[in-house]
């Protein structure tokens, strides 16, 4: 067990393998919270979740409660959800609207910028008491890219622009699909939980290798997955049944990584232009009427399949959604999957997305459930101390520089993306305060 006496944390991450402690050790988990989640830029919500002044949603960064709220000046503010007096959580709801935030315990009240507005029975405060000193803390830094709001608990470190780097293109790829150029995260949320480490879900997002096996139950006798998108005439060819192996079109997928552990898988299967249904055709028309036919064709040839913004946010281009992975304990993780509505698209099209996301990524879905079972069994298997190492060596040394994306690329059937995540993990964990 890791107890701080490891000569170096770096010993846990070696070429092509990582030590089981990174999934099982509670002390390392606490270090991850302070050195990764308190340092990185963390997705805290989307503009569309708080359209009006006073609208708020609550969540956590590194398990610490925060409030994302629309201030009177229109800007989104991220406040620490902890009364400056005795520490109670000020907002108890998951979402709502409040002009002032009032603590239940002794009635202190705060504005949507965190400023302390009033203290009950102020005559009891010490003569030197200044309510200006007792606001709800704002997080150190916030940033917004096309409606995606991020926060960092640390005042120093890489800027948001440095952190996000070329991943803006992945966000653009999704947002541009909306005829009005805006997406809406206002269609509820799928919440699921599993008894396993948070990194198991993070690694899975860019793992194309598991699909023909973990999700074997979702393909038919010809190796084709069920159709899972509005207007699809059939799902992706995952397995080549005649040759008894992973289908060529699936094997051709590439994965890409950049700094900070971010990455994505390429799109060889989406063929959005070939989809057809009344809802899909109406959507194409609405998109073309806003951006022109040429640009529509370009947008409907999306480049990205799955995207990971390390440490804990993913964007899926197939069944479009935003996913947030919330570590609760070393062996317990909650995942929130937000369906996306494309602003300006016909209602039927947006419903098509919501409906099929139920089928692929709800707690009762056909695809996600197999992954959750894999995470649970991995966590149980890793109790074994007879084999201390997890192998992530597929394709080690076959990484190639990709000048088009200014990224590093390899077959998505390999494990480069996981290795890149552990490289970022090491950088975070080795950095001194």
């Amino acid at each position: 067990m890791f107890n701080g006496t490891h000569a170096r944390i770096a010993d846990l991450v070696q070429p092509g393998r990582v030590h089981r402690d990174v999934y099982t050790d509670p002390n390392l988990f606490e270090l991850e919270m302070t050195r990764i989640f308190e340092k990185a830029w963390i997705f805290v919500g989307h503009d569309s979740q708080i359209p009006g002044v006073g609208d708020f949603v609550t969540s956590e960064i590194a398990r610490q409660p925060i409030i994302l709220i629309r201030h009177t000046d229109g800007s989104p503010r991220v406040l620490i959800n902890r009364c400056s007096h005795r520490g109670a959580k000020v907002i108890n709801e998951q979402s709502g609207n409040a002009k002032t935030l009032t603590c239940l315990y002794h009635g202190w009240s705060f504005g949507s910028d965190g400023k302390c507005l009033g203290v009950t029975m102020p005559e009891g405060c010490s003569p030197s008491f200044q309510k200006e000193d007792y606001g709800l803390s704002n997080v150190a830094r916030t940033a917004n890219y096309r409606g995606f709001i991020f926060a960092s608990l640390t005042p120093t470190g890489p800027s948001f622009e440095e952190f996000l780097g070329p991943m803006t293109a992945n966000i653009d790829d999704l947002v541009d699909r909306a005829p009005d150029g805006e997406i809406l995260l206002d269609a509820g949320v799928h919440r699921y939980i599993y008894r396993g480490n948070w990194k198991l879900q993070v690694e899975n997002v860019l793992d194309s290798y598991h699909v023909p096996f973990s999700h074997a139950s979702t393909v038919n006798k010809k190796g084709q997955q069920f159709s899972r998108r509005e207007g699809d005439k059939g799902g992706a060819q995952v397995v080549d049944q005649e040759k008894k192996k992973t289908a060529d079109s699936w094997r051709g997928r590439r994965s890409y990584v950049v700094d900070f552990g971010h990455g994505w898988t390429s799109n060889t299967q989406l063929k959005d232009n070939e989809r057809s249904s009344p809802a899909w055709d109406a959507y194409k028309e609405s998109l073309a009427s806003k951006v022109g036919v040429d640009r529509m064709e370009e947008i409907l040839t999306p480049e990205f399949h799955n995207t990971l913004l390390y440490p804990n946010t993913s964007i899926m281009g197939l069944n479009i959604h935003v996913r947030v992975i919330k570590p609760l304990a070393v062996d317990l993780t909650e995942v929130n999957v937000y369906p996306i509505r494309l602003k300006g698209a016909p209602d039927e099209m947006n419903f098509g997305n919501i409906r099929l996301l139920n089928v692929t990524h709800s707690a009762s879905s056909f695809v996600q459930t197999d992954d959750l079972e894999a995470f649970r069994r991995t966590q149980e298997g890793l109790r074994s101390r007879q084999n201390e190492w997890i192998d992530i060596s597929r394709g080690l040394g076959e990484e190639q520089a990709d000048s088009h994306y200014n990224a590093t690329s390899e077959s998505a059937m390999h494990e480069m993306a996981v290795r890149a995540q552990y490289s970022a993990w090491l950088n975070y964990l080795n950095a001194s305060n």
Binding site: G188, R191, S217, Q225, F226, E230, G231, G235, N358, E373
Partner: protein, 197 residues
């Protein structure tokens, strides 16, 4: 409302396409729903139907369960307590005929990880109330309470809630136009579930 199926249904080639939606008042706003409880109607045939419907799930006779539905019948489990319909927000289940077929083909696959081993369940149905009855059209809305105890690999969990059935009379029984289950904990984070509730 009409769902389209490929003429020859094969797993993997099921077209999950939406044409039109149910009427606005088809689904039940569970939070606002006040039971009326029509007196003078024999509850026994309805009660029996609900008990047998639930028993089919416990017996894992999923195709028989599907056959209880009309061609356009739907099974809906909302993901929030005040959800008005499945069209604007995420749902725990929203299974129409094509999704049901895909689900039950899937449940029969040998390599379904989440069901090796499969779960076992016991349903209980109680507090059955005939809410509306149109004897001429043979259409009924029934409300009841349900609980499902599910057991798999040393873990037991309980789902419970209110359920609503829109039934239509057939020659000697009923068919389901809607089964809606409003779980008391519908907006919590769930571990994986795979079989209907």
């Amino acid at each position: 409302m009409r769902w389209l199926l490929e003429p020859n249904i094969r797993p993997g080639l099921i077209i999950l396409m939406l044409q039109t939606k149910m009427d606005q008042n088809f689904f039940i706003s569970a939070e606002d729903f006040v039971p009326s409880g029509l007196a003078g109607i024999d509850r026994e045939p309805f009660e029996l139907f609900l008990i047998l419907e639930a028993r089919l799930l416990d017996l894992r006779k999923f195709w028989d369960w599907k056959n209880l539905y009309t061609e356009e019948g739907v099974y809906w489990v909302p993901a929030s307590p005040n959800q008005k319909d499945p069209y604007k927000e995420a749902s725990l289940f929203f299974d129409d005929a094509p999704v049901m077929i895909t689900r039950f083909v899937w449940l029969e696959q040998p390599r379904i990880q989440i069901k090796t081993p499969p779960s076992r369940s016991v349903h209980m149905v109680s507090n059955v109330i005939v809410e509306t009855a149109d004897n001429e059209a043979g259409e009924y809305l029934i409300s009841s309470t349900m609980s499902m105890t599910e057991y798999r690999q040393d873990t037991q969990r309980i789902f419970s809630g209110y359920q609503f059935h829109r039934l239509v009379k057939t020659k000697d029984s009923f068919q389901i136009r809607l089964k809606q289950v409003n779980l008391v904990n519908c907006d919590s984070a769930f571990e994986a579930m795979a079989v209907p509730i």
